[in-house]
């Protein structure tokens, strides 16, 4: 099956077959990172621009390494450097980058749907590196990749996503990704942070962490934005942590070989106790190296779709 998408905007749009193709391709890409010379010439002559409107060293570095390992030319644009601070519109900024030769634009933006605006308007391929509270497809794909590697499959797994579902792009991408590949997905968090309509997607929602992790194979902890505390969402981090922080104690309801994931950076002692973050069930560092492989696969497949269209 050929990949026919010029853009990767979210996992909602991808079929199970397309997701599997990305994961399979990432397997091959992972091997490249294990070589002496961690670089292949596949994207020689292609200019990729990383357009980041939010500071995110991790995601940006991961994309940048992926681009460089495929021999693409890399152009980095972050808010502090760009003219956005001067009031230039997103479209104008992106059009300028396109004029500089970028044919793929990786965009991270604090507002949901910003990548759609570019995809609708520009010739470039758009890769969503996280938009507002919408999706973070590369993170979702790398979580799937990591779990598939660890458990051998996705189908039939019980996956629990814990925390601020309302504002989380990681949650949305993971919900789609895991559901499409046949996992059972649950979400849990304070009722103020669980969208009222989330069950319409096909997940089950919980307000009790104990109940949600019962029998879980995978627990994905979302990062809690500190600015949400002292607001109307929940009273304090301390109280949040007490009810929705993951501890060994709470994890005992999960499956014996439960895997704990966190998109990072972790607020230790809030979402996760340190013994879990560093413990045997944690794959948090493995996720980082898998992230590069998955992003290489995304670039390769999008480039292939570009050349066939």
């Amino acid at each position: 099956m050929a990949f026919e998408r010029k853009h990767i905007l979210g996992l909602q749009e991808l079929t199970a077959e397309e997701i599997t193709l990305v994961l399979d391709t990432a397997e091959s890409m992972k091997e490249v990172s294990e070589r002496d010379v961690k670089k292949v010439p596949a994207l020689r002559g292609v200019t990729v621009c990383n357009l980041f409107f939010e500071p995110s060293t991790r995601t940006r570095s991961s994309f940048e390494i992926a681009e460089k390992r495929l021999s693409a030319d890399v152009l980095n644009f972050t808010t502090s450097q760009s003219s956005v601070v001067k009031g230039e519109s997103l479209l104008d900024t992106a059009r300028n980058l396109e004029a500089m030769g970028a044919s793929m634009i990786v965009i991270r933006h604090p507002m949901s749907g910003a990548p759609w605006l570019l995809a609708r308007t520009l010739d470039s391929s758009i890769i969503n590196a996280g938009d507002g509270s919408h999706e973070h497809p590369s993170q979702g794909l790398l979580d799937l990749f990591t779990i598939r590697q660890l458990k051998g499959k996705i189908e039939g797994l019980k996956v629990v996503i814990v925390g601020d579902i309302l504002h989380s792009r990681v949650a949305r991408s993971n919900i789609w990704g895991f559901m499409k590949l046949g996992a059972e997905v649950r979400v849990v968090g304070p009722p103020t942070l669980i969208p009222k309509y989330i069950e319409n997607i096909g997940v089950k929602s919980y307000f009790s962490l104990d109940a949600a992790v019962d029998g879980a194979d995978v627990v994905i902890m979302l990062r809690i934005q500190k600015e949400r505390q002292d607001s109307e969402f929940f009273p304090s981090l301390r109280e949040y942590s007490r009810f929705y922080g993951l501890t060994r104690e709470k994890l005992k309801y999960a499956a014996g070989d439960v895997t704990v994931m966190h998109p990072g950076p972790i607020n230790r002692g809030v979402e996760l106790s340190s013994d879990i973050a560093d413990g045997p069930g944690s794959v948090i560092l493995e996720q980082v190296s898998n992230g590069i492989a998955v992003r290489m696969a995304m670039f390769y497949l999008v480039a292939s779709a570009r050349s066939s269209s």
Partner: protein
């Protein structure tokens, strides 16, 4: 020059008139309904409009238009807004006060009236702000604005959150017999919401505006109308909850009227699906249940009228991130075909539809418009309800193009718009 409109189906719902016949216009007024027209047809100073198979109705009246002038002339001007109205079959429009400066005193009202008289091709009736600068705290100079020509007061776009201020506004307008026209929205509940709170907003990760944000304020405003006895008109009803509240209020005799916008009875929040900023407006497009309720409200009379909430914005302003885009869409040039769809769908009869776009809105603001009695000012629309049309935003007379209906195949074409006996628009 006189005009003879020949052989059209004349519908004037204000007096249950629906007959094929002729109308003679002379000196700007409806002169008569002549039966024998042989002589008139030959007269050199009579322009004959063949209207066989077409509908001849009172010119449409829109209670909810943003003309943007003064202050936002890049979006719309009084001139272009009036041209857009004429192209849509409207002969009278009511313009909202949220201009810059805000229409909160007589000098702004006079400016608008003067501009409308000199540049506008349709009748323009301004609304004054309820509070100074729409600050929600101190009453604007309502009496002076009334004298200058304002036909009501409204907080459109910037709701009066303080219930006590709203109460006093409702009491104060009774001195002038004008309605309070309310944009009912609880800004705290809306928060930073940009679309309807529902399944679609959950998928898109966009902040939602719950229907409760409208219901809560409709409820408050009805309560205050009941307290004060003032005529309350509720703008752009979009939720099942507010339809229910208004229906109950009417049943117990509260002086409340309501309007619905074509986009609310046509679309649901699914239209936002690909972050289309032309589907972003306030109140937002709601769920299918809400849409059904609005249609039922129009059908059973709970919702008295159709008003467009014509809200022009430039392309540059709309071609941005969804969160950043301003609320609102243009509506004057799509209202008639979208309303005719209600007739096609069996929600309204053609007479009911015309009533909701003519004499009923006129009655809310107490102006003598929307009728075709002999002696009335000749404001007339002639349209072909069955003629197919593909909505083409490039053809709009409005300065702005922000419509979610571009490319839609609909029926209903305005052939002539006549204001005060002058043809101001023809295809």
């Amino acid at each position: 020059m006189s005009i003879l409109i020949k052989g059209g189906r004349i519908i004037d719902p204000s007096r249950n008139f629906d007959k094929v016949g002729n109308i003679l216009i002379e000196k700007g007024t409806v002169k008569s309904y002549p039966e024998d027209i042989k002589k008139l047809e030959k007269a050199s100073d009579v322009k004959v409009i063949e209207a066989g198979g077409k509908i001849v109705a009172p010119g449409l009246v829109d209670l909810h238009v943003h003309l943007r002038e003064p202050g936002y002339e890049h979006k719309e001007t009084i001139r272009t807004g009036c041209e857009s109205a004429a192209a849509g079959g409207f002969t009278s429009i009511v313009c909202m006060p949220n201009t810059n400066p805000i229409n909160d005193n007589a000098s702004v009202t006079e400016y608008i009236m003067l501009k409308a008289r000199t540049e506008g091709v349709v009748n323009v009736f301004p609304l004054g702000a309820i509070t100074k600068g729409e600050n929600g705290e101190t009453l604007a100079q309502i009496g002076e604005m009334y004298e200058a020509g304002c036909v009501g007061v409204s907080d459109d776009g910037m709701p009066v959150m303080n219930s006590k201020v709203m109460r006093h506004a409702m009491e104060y307008v009774k001195a002038f017999g004008i309605p309070v026209i309310s944009h009912s929205e609880d800004l705290n509940l809306s928060g930073n919401g940009v679309m309807n709170e529902g399944y679609t907003s959950t998928l898109l990760g966009l902040s939602g505006i719950p229907s409760a944000s409208e219901d809560v304020m409709v409820s408050r405003d009805i309560t205050l109308a009941e307290l004060t006895g003032t005529h309350l008109h509720i703008c752009h009803v979009s939720t099942v909850g507010s339809v229910r509240l208004i229906r109950a209020a009417k049943e117990r005799g509260v002086r409340v009227t309501a309007e619905a916008a074509p986009h609310h009875f046509t679309l649901t929040d699914k239209a936002v699906a690909e972050y289309d900023t032309n589907a972003k407006m306030k109140p937002p497009l709601r769920s299918e249940t809400d849409r059904e309720a609005v249609r039922e409200g129009l059908r059973d009379g709970t919702i008295d009228i159709i008003a467009t909430d014509h809200a022009p914005h430039s392309e540059d302003e709309k071609m941005v991130e969804f969160d950043q885009a301003p609320f609102g869409i243009v509506g004057l040039e799509t209202a008639l075909p979208l309303s005719l769809k209600l007739v096609e769908d069996g929600v309204l009869t053609i007479n009911e539809m015309i009533a909701k776009l003519t004499h009923l809105p006129s009655a809310i603001i107490n102006v003598r418009k929307g009728t075709l009695n002999p002696g009335d000012q000749a404001d007339i629309v002639i349209f072909d309800p069955g003629q197919k049309v593909k909505i083409d935003r490039e053809s709009f007379r409005s300065k702005s193009r922000n419509t979610p209906f571009n490319g839609w195949d609909l029926k209903g074409v305005v052939l002539y718009t006549i204001v005060n006996g002058n043809i101001v628009y023809s295809v």
